[in-house]
Subunit: 267 residues, 2 copies
């Protein structure tokens, strides 16, 4: 189905803009992904937007044609509008912009089949959506199964997290849980919980990692609570040769995840 | 010297706000760093703000007292103002906020003593100030000498980059150059230029890294220009087990830098 929107005050414009806000995303169970590259990543991962929004006057592109055809065939909606209105929706001054509305995925822990991958990433109270998206992207690169968000993290469906994930939001499992749910779930099956730590830690290089390995990083300012660290099966430490005693959370997770990959699944 | 500012329209308030803007930073040769932790990092690295701005009513803190004393002893200025005006300056709703004005450092290539460190990080056309600050932080962690910015990068003195560096802006050398300056400078002395690449690359793990090793990452969207990659002494590739063929720029630089550290300067 195709339709054209010509007025700023159209309720659909308001609806689309509202999805930039977490409260509205949760209420609607929908999120926005922007840009042809991201939407193509989604399509290639088998995820189609229920609604596609784009500018009326636009350059043709084979990937865009494929995307349009796929959305129409799946019974989705295609909305064409003016570059100005599109800029208002996306908050970007780019008439080539394109956006898709997707249904939020189920993010229960029961979505996780822990034996489907050797590595899982775990983020605790990560507040920066960019860090969260970056961890999803790293997870894709190391062949992780997904990202488990513990306690109060940024929203993985925010426009910023989706963008930083570079499409990994469509390929990585995402689960959200409180620590009180996560720990019993983890202990009900195989799984080694690993964190970078300064407490009773061993060098991260060639530590005895075991699959499925859950690599956990903590909040950007506070790090992990001490009892979470002590609940880990393995605490490892990375060289810190300068003044600081920590890395950016997404960087720490990536350096550690690549080391785990080298142990569990070398090239 | 101490003084109190009570009015929003005070020219100093306008001046401080203007330092959030690159054009004004360059004209004034000054930049802002915010927060007691960052300013303490600066002090411990031997860098004091010429001006310190803080709220009149504030909780006492031993680190704040030390900072005030150091700034006064160095002949600097301390400005006290209302929480509201401070919030206007810092753009943050936090009456505990504190900000310092620093002189921008010289960022010529001639600041770099390449033999003073085994690792140097190089960023080409990196546009995200957060990525740039994160690279500074990683550089500190791996004992790098500093960060060399090639072509049109984000401003390392922006509030966002300074914040993301977690104080490393005060300990890492920062140089800025065009590629046309950097390449002859590099070739005029010892130095191995290394980049992650898909072109004629070897596995990053245990590649023949040599000190001083210059680890280069490219622009977030486009990566490195092909001729820059081909000018490298060593091109390495990291495992990509998922859909994507690249990592976040700051993450790629960190994973690579930690591998170089393991070769050149193991624990």
């Amino acid at each position: 189905m195709r339709r054209t929107i010509t007025g700023y005050s159209n309720p659909t414009v308001k609806y689309l803009r509202s999805l930039r806000d977490k409260k509205h995303r949760k209420r609607e169970g929908r999120f926005l992904a922007e840009g042809l590259r991201l939407l193509t990543d989604a399509r290639e991962s088998g995820k189609l937007p229920e609604t596609l929004v784009m500018a009326e006057a636009r350059e043709s592109h084979p990937l865009l044609s494929e995307l349009e055809a796929a959305v129409e065939q799946a019974g989705g909606e295609i909305i064409e509008t003016s570059p100005d209105i599109l800029a208002k929706i996306t908050g970007k001054d780019n008439p080539q912009a394109i956006a898709g509305i997707f249904t939020e995925f189920d993010t229960g822990l029961d979505q996780i089949d822990r034996n489907s991958a050797k590595i899982w990433l775990v983020a605790q109270a990560l507040r920066d959506p960019g860090n969260l998206g970056t961890m999803l992207r790293t997870g894709d690169a190391v062949g992780a199964g997904g990202l488990i968000l513990i306690d109060d993290c940024a929203d993985p469906f925010s426009v910023e997290a989706v963008r930083a994930s570079m499409g990994a939001i469509f390929t990585q499992c995402v689960a959200q849980a409180r620590w009180e749910e996560f720990e019993p779930w983890l202990r009900a099956g195989a799984g080694q919980l690993v964190a970078a730590s300064l407490r009773e830690a061993q060098p991260y290089r060639a530590a005895p990692y075991q699959a499925p390995c859950f690599v956990m990083v903590g909040n950007e300012s506070r790090g992990l609570p001490e009892n979470y660290e002590m609940a880990c099966d393995l605490r490892v430490t990375m060289p810190m040769r300068g003044r600081a005693d920590s890395l950016n959370a997404a960087v720490a997770g990536a350096v550690l995840a690549y080391e785990v990959l080298e142990t569990l699944d070398p090239a």
